[in-house]
Symmetry: C2
Subunit: 344 residues, 2 copies
Amino acid sequence: MSEERTEVSSLGEFGLIDYLTRNIEIQQAGTVLGVGDDAAVIDHFGKQTVISTDMLLEGIHFDLMYTPLRHLGYKSVVVNLSDIYAMNATPTHITMNIGFSNRFSVEALSEFYEGVYAACERYGVDLVGGDTSSSQKGLVISVTAIGEVAPDQFVKRSTAQKGDLLCVSGDLGAAFLGLTLLEREKKVYREHPQLQPDLENQAYIIGRLLKPEARKDIIAYLEEQDVRPTAMMDVSDGLSSEALHICRQSNLGCVIYEEKIPIDDQSRQQALKFGLDPTACALSGGEDYELLFTIRQEDHDKLVLSEQISVIGYMTDISEGAHIVTKGGNKFKLVAQGWNAFEQ
Amino acid sequence: MSEERTEVSSLGEFGLIDYLTRNIEIQQAGTVLGVGDDAAVIDHFGKQTVISTDMLLEGIHFDLMYTPLRHLGYKSVVVNLSDIYAMNATPTHITMNIGFSNRFSVEALSEFYEGVYAACERYGVDLVGGDTSSSQKGLVISVTAIGEVAPDQFVKRSTAQKGDLLCVSGDLGAAFLGLTLLEREKKVYREHPQLQPDLENQAYIIGRLLKPEARKDIIAYLEEQDVRPTAMMDVSDGLSSEALHICRQSNLGCVIYEEKIPIDDQSRQQALKFGLDPTACALSGGEDYELLFTIRQEDHDKLVLSEQISVIGYMTDISEGAHIVTKGGNKFKLVAQGWNAFEQ
């Protein structure tokens, strides 16, 4: 956070919006009208509009003690774009509502918006609206992402077929391990404020938590390879939970092979340091923002060259249930133990 | 609030969404995919998409001590639809994010959603997505409204012309007086809990605060009369503030005649009881959700029969500034004293 501190009240609400949106550059040809009126106007030129929305609340979804505001702004956008990509669509616009207490200065909000704009630029989306408001306590963020897709080319969760291969992008479990690490360091810091945090060699897992990316590249690759997933969603609550969503919504079962689940070496090492099972971190960790999707078996060879896509199992008849086959050859029922916001 | 109390944790997050969205009936032909996937899909059939979003925070925007949850759900939707109408567009879809602490039961959330669905039904919009989340404290609501408009038929704030007539729908100031009344009764109740609240004959002003409507009827009437406003916005922060927005964004001045400002008799009487100037309530009160718009002078006769539209002044050159002419014939500079969220 920079050292200057400008009180928000010195700008007023409209002054603040003007200030925070002063550098917006419109990137989308379809943006007919952006920030500054009652609503934004978008021309999708005959495509279908795809909408997703998410709320991030301080103390529930993030901890400002170890989350830089710039990263938080970036992540707030990215987690919403991830949902649009998960529909096989292209995000084009976002709106951003934030509520904040008077402990936030204009400089702090500017840092947050720097992250927002960095994400907009990287993913080619326009910020076209939103609301700033005071809150009694804590930072409240709500983002809506709008995208487009050629008519009926979107991919749902409910359309996987028996025999389809279950695939996942990137690797899993790292964000959860990053969170576990930062929570541990926070606890140490509280007990021994003089100690320096021990974050050596942890850049990958911390980065996965604090600054995730949406898998735009995977959607582009699938299109290049002319592979249309039969079902798709993003992994925000852990592999188990998401695989069970696809099963339930497609009315199928599945088999996942433990040895096929992609886990980065740093994640694996960190899990072992914590005395955690790396596979359990991947299954239940969450916040990976990878894509979980199913493809027809005949498309397998088209994806075999990508190091970013792992085939981890296949879809079965619903009567066979959803299972994981361990490295030792045992078969266990898949259970969703993902992060449940209501059990905290 | 009903007497049963079901803990949210007994349903789980996905169970809760399923439960709260179980009665959704799709009303819009353009709704290709609604709740239950990563995102919703909308087909606008070649029209432009209009997007608006707003956040409502407990303790800042509403007080649950005197706001029934059903009304709050209704109002959360309506205030967003109002922005879409203010673009001369038709709302078609909404998404709704809510965050709530564990003091809210499933029954309480159901009441809130009853109001949401009542508004959706009344205005013919589909709820197509959203997120429920726990919050550390207080109820947090964020709504995004999506609408459609025939290409380039939307109406901005910045396109009023010199000489245009300034018009407003309905009447102004009532919601502010309803708020003042309820805040007074809350104070009385806290000091003397045995006293019954004195809300006799106050249904109108309280209703205007707790259950506002968006002026869909005015947009329909203008279209019937073949009048396209030259500029338009909705009145959420008080007439002064909004008139100054139109002036600033259209690069014009204006004159408003005090005697022409529509104020309901109940509002007038209540203002006088409180020792307030009724005109000041209309100018600075806010939350009326009426439409403020400008029309060409030649369109005047087409609107003269509507009792729901008042011509309150006209647009001038910017060099003449923005003024109000009082009943006594004095001229004062118009100043925005609207509710400022950052000065509370």
